[in-house]
């Protein structure tokens, strides 16, 4: 493995340096039918699950075949997607915000062969490489974060939990029988790189044990005042302790922190500031399920998701309890909500007491908000409730 230079000269980093050039302008990458009709689209129709048609003022039509993808993708599979785009789409494709891939063609007679080609490609284990679907009133791809694959703060794996849930709900990806779109999102810790707090259903990794303190390292790795200040509930205070030096074996006094465990809300913000305060723990870590959020302004205002399952353990590799709860939620929604009703609107119409009854989920004290002022306004301040 010999080092091969790109042309960069480490002795003169500024020589020929190009910086601050930003991304490529998107217009370089638009397929001709898109470029020609930009800003002049009249209407669209979903012809079948995964296939969209957009009609332009000019009479032009663009047909889009949408496929799911695992967000974690090697260049071998990516190149295969590019091969498909070269073969059918004149070398253009796009990705959606929800990690789907869209292949576009400019006439209807090109759709079937494109679709067949995409559906026919499978991995050795039998899964589709490019399953067609993810449109309309159904379930589209689950946006997610890195998890155990590449992050330092996760309480679970992201790719695995998403794979399991989408295996369980796969027929809904290729169907459109929901009352409204059902957007599912996954974030592997409270930092929520995936911003799952406004999703119809959110799967969230969560820790349940306070940080374990590495007294030997706190003062080496961290600014103690920053660690103290990072705690939203003021559970951390500066402290001193005596430890045995791991190299010399001698007793020594070190500066460290102390944590009031009963105040910890397990957010992990201290760990972000101080690597000597790790939270990850096999028994402590797992999943929270939230539901009823949305970002669209359609019919009702955007809304936050609410916690409906306090904890599901990390049952690797296939998280059976997670899959079961997701199935319960989807079935209850499909069988009970009205047309156009998003998951949260349905729950609010029938009332949360009915929601827990219909979904079969247990309501426990964990689900009553007790975090700061906004909590008060989530308690029931009326006699209007159902038995």
């Amino acid at each position: 493995m010999a080092f091969i230079s790109s042309g960069y000269n480490p002795d003169k980093p500024m020589e020929n340096r190009i910086s601050d050039i930003g991304p490529r302008h998107f217009s370089e990458f638009l397929p001709p039918v898109i470029k020609n009709n930009k800003g002049k689209w009249l209407w669209h129709e979903i012809l079948e699950p995964g296939v969209l048609m957009h009609k332009a003022e000019s009479g032009d039509e663009v047909y889009t075949v949408r496929v799911g993808s695992a967000r974690l993708m090697g260049v071998e599979t990516l190149r295969e997607a590019l091969d498909v785009a070269d073969k059918h789409c004149d070398g253009y494709l796009r990705f959606t915000t929800r990690n789907n891939i869209e292949f576009m063609v400019d006439s209807k007679d090109k759709v079937q062969s494109l679709k067949d080609d995409l559906q026919s490609r499978k991995f050795p284990g039998g899964s589709y490489k490019f399953p067609v679907g993810g449109t309309g009133a159904g379930i589209t791809n689950i946006v997610h974060t890195q998890g155990w694959v590449h992050c330092h703060t996760p309480a679970t794996d992201a790719s695995g939990t998403v794979k399991v849930v989408l295996d369980e709900l796969f027929e809904e990806f290729q169907n459109m029988r929901m009352p409204a779109p059902l957007r599912i999102s996954m974030a592997c810790c409270l930092n929520m790189c995936g911003a799952v707090h406004c999703s119809d259903i959110a799967i969230l990794g969560y820790h349940r044990k306070p940080p374990v303190i590495d007294h030997e390292e706190v003062d080496n790795l961290c600014e103690i005042p920053l660690a103290v200040a990072s705690c939203p509930t003021a559970a951390i205070r500066p402290s001193k302790t005596t430890i045995k030096d791991s190299r010399t074996g001698e007793e020594k006094s070190v500066k460290t922190v102390a944590i009031k465990n009963e105040r910890c809300m397990f957010c992990g913000n201290c760990y972000t500031m101080c690597p000597a305060l790790p939270l990850t723990d096999a028994e402590g870590d797992g999943l929270v399920i939230m539901a009823g959020g949305k970002v669209s302004n359609r019919i009702s205002n955007p809304e936050f998701s609410k916690v409906i399952v306090a904890f599901i353990p990390n049952e690797t590799p296939r998280w059976p309890q997670l899959a079961k709860v997701m199935r319960q939620l989807v079935d209850a929604y499909v069988n009970n909500a009205r047309k156009y009703e998003r998951f949260g609107q349905w729950a609010e119409r029938i009332g949360w007491e009915r929601f827990f009854e219909i979904t079969g989920l247990e309501f426990t004290h964990h689900l009553i908000d007790d975090f700061r002022d906004p909590a008060y306004y989530t308690w029931r301040q009326t006699t209007n409730f159902k038995f």
Binding site: P23, S127, S296, Y340
Partner: protein, 437 residues
Amino acid sequence: MPKHETPLLDQLESGPWPSFVDDLKRQAESRHQKQNEIEYQIPVDVVDDLLGLLELSYKEGEVHWKHGGIVGVFGYGGGVIGRYCDQPKEFPGVAHFHTIRVNQPAAKYYKTDFLRQLCDLWDFRGSGLTNMHGSTGDIVLLGTRTEQLEEIFYELTHNMNNDLGGSGSNLRTPEACLGESRCQYACYDSQELCYQLTMEYQDELHRPAFPYKFKFKFDACPNGCVAAIARADLSFIGTWRDDIRIDQEAVAAYVGGELKPNAGAHAGKDWGPFDINKEVIDLCPTECMSMENGKLVINNRECTRCMHCINTMPRALRIGNDRGLSILCGAKAPILDGAQMSSLLVPFVKVEEPYDEIKEVIENIWDWWMEEGKNRERLGETMKRQGFQKLLEVTGIKAMPQHVQEPRHNPYIFWKEEEVPGGFDRDIKDYRLRHPK
């Protein structure tokens, strides 16, 4: 033969959804097959070791990546995230496994030749593993070593004419919905505004000078396909202020069942014949629609442009012609003080080059937040701490009812001295003349 046994991960190969495990194995195998053709610049077995490390996490239920590390390219403070594993002896291929964020073209359209070039570069100088794309929008390249960072940046800028994205306390890579490129609901060119502001604020994107991260997201209509209102410090959401355009013939065609409601989105279930009263008029949140003499009538003055009627009958109803965007600000995920949605600041602004009005709002907000924001405080938290009034003050925007869901519940108004006749300085002797002790 695989380098590490992965009995747990292997169970994620079955089932219909694309298996990331099969994908990783494919990538691992390909590196071994091509090692005589390609002079890989990081270990050939990087993906094998990633599989091994991940299997360990699946076995133990705990993560094995260490807390970041400060790596990057010269002159930039973002775009690269350092990553090291805590089992480097057993999994040397991923001992160093840094992430590179590559700024994606707005709305993620590509020509295959561009992505092929990127695949070749990343295969050669990195693990070959990607996220297409990360949550913020970047192309994420997962796993390379420190000595490759400058080389990758050099090739990216010199050969591909493309820059890195943002990370850390700076402007994060902005992203837009596909907007006018393929959507009839687009109220402005979200991709173009995204691009122009990304270029305008390259310094803020690459060199961290903010209290914390800052996100721009551009949704071209209130449907919100990039979730701007939920996750951007500044959410630019398209809207219009004149009348919804109505094609009465198409309305009649929906009523008569010739056109599929909701663009066919509900085709998987028999919901019965389309009922315009039940499905559109009665669901209108402002009750501003009615049928009169077989014609659909909209009282546009009362419409809040929620998009329901337009989404339901896209061939009959179209957005207005006097278009622009609303600016909302302060969204963030829950950490730390709870999740926040963006709050409406500018109800309407035209989207016209050179976008001076929009830039003025952005820069006024940044001036304030950079001065007053605490370390690791998002804009929404500064707004909460100092009040919406302060935001109005720094942006020079006059208060209006559109700014609130409802007026305040308490009379604890922080009156300013200049608002109260006579000011706050009073003489106790004067008071005692009227009120003896």
